[in-house]
Symmetry: C2
Subunit: 260 residues, 2 copies
């Protein structure tokens, strides 16, 4: 059997998240259905991780076993012809048998985008969270600094998390704020929050962002982020930010070289 690895991009707007579930309509369902049609055999894919309903992926990585002889360079085009227009395969290669999209992932980056302005951007409305009142970027940056390093993120993940350990390492937590120039009324700021870590817990990025927005609004201090983390209690943190502002941005693999 061959082990095929692919980079998949998707607009998560219309889906119930990445992972297969009883209600159906997931990215995984669509990919497996298209791959099974393409190869003529049942295909089960392994994703680098789940994304929630409405969350997008610029770079999701999957792998699967197949006996198909389709040459590596033909996979993406053939698969895209069978996928809906909001899911796209952009890269494929054949990898050693031991490669596992989730277990071998060394680093993941999620990006959360906030349009902090009077009006949403109509062309980006499914990919940016629109926040009306001004946010204090400096306070948000100070709060993010508390998160870098190895911590127990119990306070900043869903109480429904079933993971044994909530200890994760964040390598980078960065906020970028750029004045909006493309808009017809040139007003406001586009804020992107990039979190890079060795793994993320259920709703972790969205709860971090929901808390960060309250800090940006002055409802909490920057220092509160340290206390929230130390308290190991979900109820200490802010709300879960809306799904549509979140994108799985990048994944790095060590062993077999980075993909791009």
């Amino acid at each position: 059997m061959r082990n095929i690895r692919m980079i998949i991009s998707y607009d998560g707007t219309s889906y119930n998240g990445f992972q297969s579930q009883p209600n159906g309509n997931t990215i995984q369902d669509r990919l497996e259905h298209a791959l099974s049609r393409l190869t003529g055999e049942p295909v089960k894919i392994i994703g680098s991780g789940r994304t929630d309903a409405g969350v997008h992926a610029r770079k999701q990585v999957v792998n699967f076993s197949t006996s198909s002889r389709i040459p590596t360079e033909k996979w993406t085009k053939a698969l895209n012809s069978l996928l809906p227009e909001d899911i796209l395969a952009v890269y494929a290669d054949e990898v050693p048998e031991y490669f596992h999209a989730r277990k071998c992932a060394k680093m993941k980056t999620y990006r959360y985008t906030i349009r902090n302005s009077c009006y949403p951007d109509i062309f980006r409305r499914h990919f940016e969270y629109h926040h009306y009142t001004p946010l204090d970027h400096a306070a948000m940056r100070r709060a993010l600094a508390y998160l870098v390093g190895t911590h127990d993120f119990t306070s900043l993940c869903s109480a429904r998390s079933t993971q044994e350990s909530h200890v994760r390492t964040l390598f980078r937590a960065e906020l970028t704020a750029v004045p909006i120039m493309d808009d017809p009324i040139r007003e406001g700021t586009l804020i992107t929050i990039d979190l890079t870590g060795n793994g993320f817990l259920y709703n972790m990025v969205r709860i971090i962002v929901g808390t960060l927005i309250q800090i940006g609004e002055g409802k909490r201090t920057s220092e509160s982020m340290g206390l929230i983390l130390a308290g190991k209690d979900r109820s200490l943190a802010g709300p879960t930010a809306m799904a549509h502002g979140l994108t799985l941005w990048d994944i790095k693999y060590d062993e077999i070289g980075d993909i791009t």
Copy 2:
């Protein structure tokens, strides 16, 4: 009666164009319906110009007469609460009675966006035309230079145009090509073609772009653009480019000062 002017942005994907028509489902219909509900009186709007089915607007300008006393600063928020999420009012002011969104427009800019790469951008798929094979930017730029100035654009507008005169002035015709860096596989070029003129004929931008793409592919020479223009015959030009790559980008008004 007050004369209210507004800037409207819209994602044209789901509509049969700007202007009201028997089949319905146009931007104008939605705006008039929402404005009539808001003011409690029938409202007829005047747009700066039509856009075809699937064409977008970053900045469309409309005006309308109303006896409503809603204060200027309340119009956009009130209207947006009644509009679908793909139509957005971003500015409103009260203008002198003589202001007419179409007749007073001095300059319009349309932008056509081509993603010249292996894969479309899944997040921009409704707003960019995806072209697979490489395009010769220098040849396309040379061809655009033929269009600047005052010309009879009969060859470059729909044969169904009912305008008396096809003479229009283009002030600017510019192609920008930027390497794609945001994509997971960082490949290809994003091409934007900006055309600024005193007026545009039916399908004019799309026929210019359709011809330009053939020039970029090497199927026609740059110099052919001059001959096409001189021939005053639609059949000399290339095909009409896809609607979804086109956006009404900007409109300038002289008399009462520019809006933004």
